[in-house]
C-alpha cells in the first residue's frame, strides 16, 4: 500500500505489449464552448480552448486546475457526456481500445453506450450522487454493470463478490443502503463499481476531495492498486497538488480553459516551467516548514471574456509585452515536458524578452 513516489513507473516503462504502442487516448485541438443565444444576445464561454494531450496505456495522468479552469468540461467532453449549451466546436477525441481506434464523436449513440462502463468508466466526486439512496448497493451494481458483464444474475453477483473481496471490501456491504455506510466506504464502492468491468480507461473526477486525510489515503492506495492490477489508464482530476504528487505519473496543469504545462509529475514538481505551476507548487504549505507563503494576486479570468494573449498574464509576475499580445503555443522544452509560456521558452533558449 505504499504511496511513495519512487514506486511510480517512469514514463517509458508503460510500453509493454505491441498493443501498448498506440496511446490509449489522443485529444487534439479540442475546443468545447458553452454557446448560449437568448433574445438575440449570444454569449460564448470558451471552457476548453485548443487542448492537445495524450494518455498512454497503464498510466495515471493527473489534471490539475482551479475551479472554472475547464477541467470538468474537458472530462465531460472526453466521455462524450455533453449536452447543449455545451458544444464541441473543433478537435478530436480518439480512443484506441483493444478493438480498434475510434473517434468518440464519430461513433453512433449505441456504440458509445456499449463502451461506456465496459471500456470507459467514471469515478465521480460525490459518492452520494452515484449510489441510489433508495436501493441497496447490490441493486446499484446490477443497474450499472449487469448488462455489460452478461451471464446469469447468479454469476454476475458472484463476480461482484469476488471483485469486492479483491479490493478488501466486505461482501456484506452489498445488502446495505448508501446512508448506512461512511463516506470513505461509499467512495471505495464507487471505485469498485467503476472497475467491475475491468475498463481500459477510468476518469476519476475529484474522488477524494470530500474525504478527510485518513480516509483519503486509503482510497488513493486502493485506486492505485486497482490500476496496477488491471493495467488500465486513469485520468485523475483534482486541484489538490499533494494528491498529484503522490499518485500520478504525468501531470497536466490547466488554467482558464487551456493546458499550460504537462510533464512527468516528478519533473513538474521539481522544475516547474510555467509561472502558474511554479507558484502553485511554491505556495503549498508543508508540515515542518514555516516559511511565509503567498497567495496569487488577482482572480481567475472570466472565460466569457478571457484576456488577450496569454490568459495568465494579468496575474503573472514575469509577464512581458509579448504575453499581452500573443497566445503562447504549447511547446516541448524538455523531453516529455511541454509548456505554453513565452518567457519560459525564451529562458530555455537563453534569450531575454523585454
Amino acid at each position: 500500500m505504499s504511496l511513495a513516489p519512487d514506486v511510480h513507473p517512469g514514463p517509458g516503462s508503460s510500453a509493454g505489449s505491441a498493443a501498448a504502442t498506440a496511446p490509449l487516448l489522443e485529444v487534439s485541438g479540442l475546443k468545447a464552448y458553452y454557446q448560449m443565444r437568448f433574445f438575440g444576445i449570444s454569449r460564448e464561454v470558451r471552457a476548453v480552448d485548443d487542448v492537445t494531450f495524450t494518455i498512454r496505456r497503464n498510466e495515471i495522468y493527473g489534471l490539475a486546475g482551479e475551479s472554472s479552469s475547464g477541467k470538468s468540461t474537458l472530462i465531460k467532453t472526453i466521455a462524450r457526456a455533453i449536452r447543449p449549451p455545451l458544444n464541441v466546436v473543433g478537435g478530436t477525441v480518439v480512443f484506441t481500445f483493444e478493438d480498434g481506434r475510434q473517434d468518440i464523436y464519430a461513433m453512433s449513440p449505441a456504440q458509445v453506450a456499449a463502451i461506456r462502463w465496459s471500456r470507459l468508466s467514471y469515478v465521480t466526486q460525490g459518492s452520494m450522487n452515484v449510489l441510489n439512496p433508495v436501493r441497496r448497493i447490490r441493486s446499484t451494481f446490477v443497474d450499472f454493470a449487469a448488462r455489460h458483464l452478461g451471464g446469469s444474475r447468479r454469476d454476475f453477483l458472484a463476480a461482484v463478490e469476488s471483485h469486492l473481496a479483491r479490493l478488501s471490501l466486505d461482501p456484506r456491504v452489498l445488502d446495505a443502503y448508501p446512508h448506512e455506510l461512511s463516506g470513505g466506504m461509499r467512495q471505495r464502492l464507487t471505485i469498485a463499481l467503476a472497475t467491475i468491468c475491468r475498463p481500459e480507461f477510468i476518469i476519476a473526477d475529484e474522488p477524494t476531495t470530500a474525504l478527510d486525510v485518513v480516509v483519503q489515503k486509503g482510497v488513493l492506495a486502493m485506486l492505485r492498486e486497482v490500476q496496477q492490477e488491471m493495467g488500465s489508464s486513469i485520468l485523475f482530476v483534482t486541484h489538490d497538488m499533494a494528491v498529484h504528487a503522490n499518485l500520478t505519473d504525468r501531470l497536466g496543469i490547466m488554467y482558464a480553459g487551456r493546458l499550460v504545462e504537462e510533464g512527468p509529475t516528478r519533473e513538474v514538481f521539481q522544475r516547474p516551467l510555467h509561472p502558474y505551476t511554479a507558484h502553485l507548487i511554491a505556495s503549498l504549505p508543508r508540515l515542518g516548514d514555516d516559511m511565509r507563503k503567498t497567495g496569487l494576486p488577482g482572480a481567475p479570468p472570466s472565460l466569457a471574456d478571457p484576456p488577450t494573449g496569454c490568459r495568465f498574464h494579468p496575474r503573472c509576475p514575469s509577464a512581458v509585452g509579448l504575453c499581452r499580445e500573443a497566445s503562447p503555443p504549447m511547446e516541448e522544452l524538455e523531453p516529455g515536458h511541454r509548456v505554453a509560456c513565452h518567457v519560459a521558452k525564451a529562458h530555455a533558449e537563453g534569450r531575454r524578452l523585454s
Binding site: L3, L280, R286, L287, K293, A299
Partner: protein
Amino acid sequence: MTALLEVRQASKTYTSGGLFGRHVVRAVAGVDFSLTSERPEVFTIIGESGSGKSTLARMILNSVPPSGGSILFRGRDLATIRSRRDRLAFMGEVQPVFQNPFEAFNPLKRLDRYLYLAARRFCGARTRADVEGLADAALRKVGLSLAEVRGRFPHEMSGGQLQRVAIARALVPEPALVVADEPVSMIDASLRMTIVNMFRTLRDTFGVSIIYITHDLATAYYISDRLIIMEKGEVVESGPARAVLDAPSHPYSIKLLQAVLPVGNAWRDEMPAEPRSQPAA
C-alpha cells in the same frame, strides 16, 4: 490576564430514537481550553469528520447549548445570554465564517447587502454614509473595497473573493473572536494562502483571536499558535502547534500526521524555495 473565552468541560450529546432503541451520540465530551484577551492568537481545532469539531464551534457561537459543562465569554456564561440586546452584543463580539462561501450567500441577493445589514444591526449605524463607511472599512481589512463589491452578486466573484467578503462581513462589528469552520477547504489552491495569510494579519494587526477549525494539518502548522486534536469528541492532544505537530505523542495524532500526503518530501531538498527565477521584464 483576563480570559476572553473559557471552555470548561463542555460536552454535547445528541439523542436519537424514541423510548425504545434509544441511541446517544457523544459529539463533544469534556473539552477544556481558554483564550486570553491580552494576546490574540490563532487557536486551531483539528479532527477528522465526525470528531465533534463543528459541534464545539456551534457551542462557542452560542447557537447550540452545551449539555454539560459551561462556556464563558469575558467571564459571562453563554447560557445566561437571553435578551435580544445581550444576544446582539455577544454576536458583535463573536462572529462566524463558514466553510463554503458559495452556499453562505443567497445567490439572489447582492453582497453589499450583507455588510450593510451587519453595520446596521451590530454597530447601530443609521445614515447611509455611516453604513457604507463601516462596510468599506471592513472590506479594506481583507484587501477589498466597497467599490469592488457594491451591487455585485455572489456568482460574479471567485471563491477566494467571496470568502474574503464573508470574512469582511464578520469583521464589521469589530469582533474580538472569529470562529472559522474549515474556511479554506473549498477555496482553490492558488487563492488558499491569501485567506490563510489574512488570518495572520487579522491577529497581528487588528488583534482578533481566531478559532480555526480544519482537518488540513499543513495550513494548521503554518498559522496556528496553539492547537487541540480531537477524536470522537475528546481532546487527545493539545499544546503549542509546532511542538505538537513536530512530535505528536498520542497514537491518533500520529495516525493523522502519517496520513498527510507528503508534497515532494522525497525530493524537497532539491526543490527551489522560490519560484524559479526567470528573466524579468
